[in-house]
């Protein structure tokens, strides 16, 4: 029983620790690096005044990595935030609506998008609006909305039609309070855990689109672009690939651990599961 919270805290702390380097790079990096990173070295050079070597254009990888976090994480986080926001509104509204037609009206169009291959959308957006992070973020968000909305609707429906919600209604609680006070709290850990995995997946959707040659400007310092563009040098100048990859991995793992930390007590070890473990 005692170990539970401590372990949770450790997990959360671990998550935060992992998030720190990529987060700092993304937040502080743009202020300490020039907007146009000079190409002043040989391509894929190692050492030579560049602690992490250079990229294909002879730019300093360390500077690039500092510069490119904002767009890599920005696009992913913005896309996921948008997807979760829209998905939550849709899902919660659908779950809270007592009319089936309203539920259908909200969910059906969203479900239509569900089987749309994300690759096609990304490629249309990538090709049509080349190098525009906003467009990529919007497209990725749009792709994620259906799944988020469905997941949250299902979770919320359970909570919104359960006896607790009924009791609250009988107490005269306003629908908003029921939605945010009870349903929202039931949904939050699910949404957080989901968002944690989604941010990671999104970073890679964008990176993979770059790998296939659709999407952002190939000379931009974005981590995903950097990985994709330098991949052929994996064994020549490993840092050009590994530095951004490591940061991305740290970010996604950290985000996931942090999301775990937000899980409700009951679902955590040392909580009620102890009843089973004895």
């Amino acid at each position: 029983m005692k170990q539970g919270p401590a372990r949770r805290r450790r997990r959360t702390a671990g998550g935060a620790l992992l998030l720190a380097p990529p987060g700092t790079a993304a937040l502080v990096g743009p202020f300490v690096t020039p907007a146009d990173i000079p190409s002043d070295g040989m391509p894929y050079a190692r050492g030579d005044g560049h602690p992490l070597g250079t990229d294909a254009l002879g730019r300093d990888v360390l500077t690039l990595v500092l510069r490119g976090g904002a767009s890599a994480l920005g696009v992913a986080c913005a896309a996921v935030a948008l997807a979760v926001a829209v998905g939550a509104v849709l899902g919660l509204a659908a779950a809270a609506s007592h009319r089936r037609w309203l539920d259908d009206l909200l969910m059906r169009p969203v479900e239509l998008l569900l089987p749309l291959p994300s690759f096609l959308v990304i490629s249309v957006v990538g090709v049509g609006w080349r190098g525009q992070p906003v467009a990529v973020a919007l497209a990725v968000a749009a792709l994620n909305v259906p799944a988020v909305a469905r997941l949250l609707r299902a979770t919320a429906l359970d909570a919104a039609s359960g006896p607790v919600a009924e009791a609250m209604r009988l107490q005269g609680e306003s629908p908003t309070r029921i939605l945010f006070g009870h349903v929202g709290r039931a949904v939050l850990p699910v949404a957080a855990a989901d968002a944690g995995t989604r941010v990671g997946a999104t970073v890679f959707t964008v990176a993979a689109a770059n790998f296939l040659g659709l999407g952002l400007d190939p000379t931009s310092p974005d981590w995903g672009v950097l990985i994709a563009a330098s991949r052929e040098a994996l064994f020549v100048q490993p840092w050009a690939v590994c530095a951004p990859t490591l940061l991305l991995v740290m970010f996604t793992v950290g985000a996931n651990l942090l999301a775990d930390g937000l899980m409700p007590r009951g679902a955590e070890p040392g909580g009620r599961a102890a009843a089973w473990n004895q």
Partner: protein
């Protein structure tokens, strides 16, 4: 004879609280032993200890052995406890709705349990199926049609209770521990249960019965152990421990019979009225469970609704409270038509309050009980949060709940405690009409007194109308002035409580009445037919 259950110095502690304080208990084989005591006295805790188990955060010491196997030692539960569960001792929990797997049909689970614990079923499917059938029948569920293919949510509250009982029986244990098995059972079913318990004992099974239902205890238990605040205060033959048969007609005690305000002025104004109410379970008007029901309750009056388990009482109550939206018909409060809950004004919400039958699920695990109770006053009576909390504590205390209890989360409260908290939650609204759906099932006599006294006070002082749903006809007779008998979703009889009970006009009522007196051992357990389980057809989405 060797005792089957030997408990020596069993102590249970949670944090600094002592839930059980060195109790001793001996149960002889082949008889029903009852464990009674007020709500919160530690019955459930003691019963779980027989399985070598404790609720989370509760530590056990002492010795407990069941059929020669020691399950609790001075160091807590022993390693041989798991093997004893199911095979030697099987436990039926207090909240069976909570304990049934929502995604598994009841039949396969029963067969599975039989195959696990019964040597003859391990190989043979048909033997296991036969045991399952017997278990169902013994538990009072008809073993016909597609009932074994149903999911738990497709049963009514009382039926779910019996499914849980059937699961226990399917294991074929030496000892069964039943935690409030008669909760939610109508008199007929309760009578049958009593009969089955007797038959179980005759079949060589030892029964430990945890119950508030003293009539049931008297009817079946040879010996009784009385618990109070975690200690055994009395033990011996039932007649000695629970001597006085209650008088057939209740005495004019404080909680006593209808102190009708201002003579017989009740009856003038109808508070809540439902007219031509039909309700169904599934969308598209499918699965109709109420057919053209008309009920009413007068200002300051009390209308009781009785009927066999599964007859639609809860659905009716939920319709009136506005929670069940799939209905047709007119519901009015003081002549003003009532829409479904979502469309009710705060005034109308305040007007009609509902107390749940299965109360545990209606509490939020994230907030303390008192916090939740107080919200009613904040929202519906516009009190400040502090004032509301004071009010809440006050009402709870009147119902016998200590402030320390209500400041915990719902999970750590006993069944009876929660039931009263739920009542307090509704009472804080100071409603015009209070719908009580079997709110005393987990209460001991004293607590029941507190509850009925509080209701009587409200009726007297605030002219609150009460719609009472219950199986306990004694209580109904004491409380209600009008009576509606429901069967299979139809009103089979209604009228003045006294007149209906004294000269029943329908077969259902007669059946219910015939089984009311359990305490007298003359009652024939085998008489009534098992209540039918309606809706045999496989429900489609």
């Amino acid at each position: 004879m060797e005792p089957v259950i030997e408990v020596r110095g069993l102590t249970a502690r949670a944090g600094t609280a002592t839930l059980l304080d060195g109790i001793d208990l001996t149960v002889a084989p082949g008889e029903v032993t009852a464990l009674v005591g007020p709500s919160g006295s530690g019955k459930t805790t003691a019963a779980l200890a027989l399985l070598g188990e404790a609720a989370p955060g509760v530590r056990l010491t002492g010795t407990v052995s069941v059929a020669g196997t020691q399950v609790v030692s001075a160091q807590g539960p022993t390693g041989s406890a798991p093997a004893a569960r199911g095979r030697l001792v099987a436990y039926m929990p207090q909240h069976p709705a909570h304990a049934l797997h929502p995604a598994r049909r009841i039949g396969p689970v029963l067969t599975e349990l039989a195959r696990l614990h019964r040597p003859d079923s391990a190989r043979s499917r048909s033997a296991a199926a036969a045991h399952a059938a017997v278990a169902l029948r013994t538990a009072g569920l008809p073993d016909g049609g597609t009932i074994r293919r149903r999911f738990p949510h497709q049963f009514s509250g009382g039926q779910r209770q019996r499914v849980a009982l059937a699961q226990v029986l399917a294991c074929g244990p030496r000892v069964v521990v039943l935690d409030e098995p008669s909760t939610g059972l109508d008199t007929v079913a309760r009578m049958r249960l009593a009969g089955e318990l007797t038959r179980l004992v005759d079949g060589g099974i030892t029964v430990l019965l945890l119950s508030h239902d003293l009539d049931l205890v008297r009817a079946v238990a040879a010996r009784t152990v009385l618990l109070a605040r975690g200690r055994v205060v009395a033990t011996g033959p039932t007649e000695d421990v629970l001597p006085a048969e209650p008088p057939p007609a209740p005495p004019a005690s404080a909680s006593g019979p209808l102190p009708s305000p201002e003579g017989d002025s009740r009856g003038e104004v109808t508070a809540l009225q439902a007219h031509g109410l039909s309700a169904w379970i599934r969308p598209g008007h499918r699965g109709e469970v109420l057919h053209d029901v008309t009920v009413g309750v007068r200002e300051g009056g009390c209308t009781a609704i009785v009927g066999p388990s599964g007859s639609g009482k809860t659905v009716l109550a939920r319709c009136l409270a506005g929670l069940h939206e799939r209905h047709r018909g007119r519901i009015s409060l003081f002549g003003e038509s009532l829409p479904v809950l979502r469309h009710r004004t705060p005034r109308q919400i305040r007007g009609v309050q509902y107390v749940w039958q299965e109360v545990r699920n209606s509490f939020d695990e994230r907030r303390t009980v008192v916090e939740q109770v107080a919200r009613t006053a904040v929202r519906l009576r516009r009190l400040s949060p502090e004032a509301a909390e004071r009010r809440a504590t006050e009402v709870c205390e009147r119902l016998g709940l200590a402030p320390g209890d209500t400041r915990r989360h719902a999970a750590s409260l006993s069944g009876g405690e929660l039931q009263r908290a739920a009542l307090a939650r509704a009472l804080l609204a100071e409603p015009d009409v209070l719908i009580c759906d079997e709110i005393t099932t987990a209460l001991d006599a004293a607590s029941t007194e507190l509850v009925t006294a509080e209701l009587a006070r409200l009726r007297r002082e605030s002219h609150t109308a009460v719609l009472w749903i219950g199986h306990d006809l004694e209580l109904v007779e004491r409380l209600a002035d009008d009576l509606v008998v429901l069967d299979e979703g139809t009103v089979v009889e209604s009228g003045g409580c006294h007149s209906v009970l004294s000269s029943p006009g329908s077969e259902t009522t007669r059946l219910l009445l015939r089984s009311r007196h359990l305490g007298t051992r003359s009652a024939s357990p085998s008489a009534p037919a098992p209540p039918d389980v309606r809706g045999e057809e496989e429900p489609c989405p």
